[in-house]
Symmetry: C2
C-alpha cells in the first residue's frame, strides 16, 4: 500500500516516517507550513529526513490560521510560555482543531496521489489540553476519512498506545538520527530547553535511556 | 448560540445563511477561496448576502489544493464537462475530501471566534459521486469535530433531508434574492446553462415552482 506520512520534522513523526519505510511499499511525506513560529526550524528536518530515505516530500503552505485563528503558537500570537506542559501553562499555544485540519488536507492529498492510508504519529502521551490528539477524536475522524474518500482511506496511528520515550527507543533501534529533528516551539537557533515541548523532549530521551543529541541553550 | 455558516455564495448556502439569521442569536459567515475557477464569481455573492444581512464575513484563502490536488474543478485542471451530473460525466470535477477540509477549517475558526456550532448546507440531493456530501460521512465528521474541539462544536445540517427544490421553496419564503447567487462551475460572466450544476439549478427552480431569476447563456 502507498501511504502518506504527516511529517512535522519532530521526534514522533520522523520516527513514524522511518518505521513506515520498513512497513509499507511506498511512502510519500506531507508537511504543513501553517504560520507557526517554529515551521522554519522544523521543515528543513522534514526535508532532510525525506531525502535521506529517498521519499517524495510535499509541503502544504497556507496562512489562513495566522489570519483567522487565535493561538500563541502562531506568528501573530503572544510569547511561548516556559515550564512543563500543563493546562494553564500551555493552553494559549493550542491551535484549534489543528490535527483535524492536517488530517483532512492529508486525506484529500492522499486520494490525489493514489494512497490508501495516512500515517499520523499521535501518541498516548499527547496532552489532555489538545482534544484533537486523543483517540476519542481520532476514531470518528478516521471513520469520516474512510467514508468521505472514494478509496476509503485508512488513518493509521502506529504510536497511539506508545509514549514519547517508547517512540525514541524504537527510533534508536531503526537508526534515526535525532540530531536531525526539531521540537522547540520558540523556533530560535537552538532548542530553548525551557518550553513545554523542550522539557518533554529531554525527559523522554532520559526515560528511553537513549543519548540526547540535542543542543539546548542552557 | 453563535454559529459559523459555511458560505459559498450558491443557492444552498445562501439559503442556510438567511435561515440561520432567523434561528440563531449570532451568525458569522466563512467562505473558501481555494483555487476553483468559479471562486471569483461566487465569492462576491457571498460577500453581498452577508452585507445585506449585516453579518461578519471572513474568507479563508489557500492554494494548496491547486498545487497538490488533482481536479478539473481547480484552475490547473481540464475543462468542465457539459451535461447532467452523473458518475462518468462529473467525476473529474470532484475535489477530494473538499467538504472534510472545509468543515475542519471551519471548526478551528469557530473555536477561535467562540462559536458553538457550524452550519453546512449539505442536502439529500447531493450527488453520489461526492462521498463527503453523504450523511455517512457527515455523522462521524460531526463526532470528530465535537470530540476534537474544546467547546464541543456541533455540526448543524439543516437541509440534510431536503432536496435543492425544497431549499429554494424555503428561501423564496424567506425572501432570498437568488439573482444574487452563483452555481456555474465554468466561472464565466453568465451561468453557462450546460454544466451539471447549471442544469440542476434550473431544474430545481422549476420543481420548486419559483421563478428562476438566473441569466443563462442559452
Amino acid at each position: 500500500m502507498r501511504v502518506v506520512v504527516l511529517l512535522s520534522g519532530g521526534v514522533d513523526s520522523v520516527t513514524a516516517l522511518h518505521q513506515s519505510v520498513c512497513e509499507h511499499e511506498e511512502v510519500v511525506a506531507l508537511s504543513f507550513d501553517y504560520g507557526a513560529r517554529h515551521n522554519a526550524r522544523e521543515l528543513p528536518f522534514a526535508e532532510y529526513q525525506s531525502r535521506l530515505l529517498g521519499i517524495p516530500h510535499r509541503i502544504a503552505r497556507f496562512d489562513f490560521m495566522e489570519k483567522l485563528f487565535r493561538s500563541d503558537l502562531l506568528k501573530g500570537g503572544g510569547d511561548i510560555p516556559e515550564g512543563p506542559y500543563d493546562e494553564d501553562n500551555m493552553r494559549q499555544t493550542v491551535v484549534p482543531f489543528r490535527n483535524g485540519i492536517f488530517l483532512a488536507i492529508a486525506a484529500g492529498f492522499a486520494e490525489s496521489v493514489g494512497a490508501g492510508g495516512l500515517v499520523i504519529a499521535a501518541h498516548s502521551g499527547d496532552h489532555s489540553l489538545y482534544p484533537d490528539c486523543r483517540e476519542s477524536f481520532m476514531l470518528p475522524m478516521a471513520e469520516a476519512i474512510r467514508s468521505g474518500t472514494d478509496p476509503r482511506i485508512e488513518v493509521l496511528r502506529p504510536f497511539i498506545h506508545e509514549k514519547k520515550d517508547g517512540i525514541i527507543a524504537l527510533g534508536a533501534k531503526l537508526g534515526v538520527d535525532y540530531a536531525q529533528t526539531w521540537s522547540c516551539y520558540q523556533g530560535k537557533d537552538l532548542h530553548c530547553g525551557k518550553c513545554g515541548t523542550c522539557i518533554e523532549r529531554r525527559q523522554s530521551f532520559a526515560l528511553a535511556r537513549v543519548e540526547d543529541p540535542t543542543r539546548y541553550v542552557d
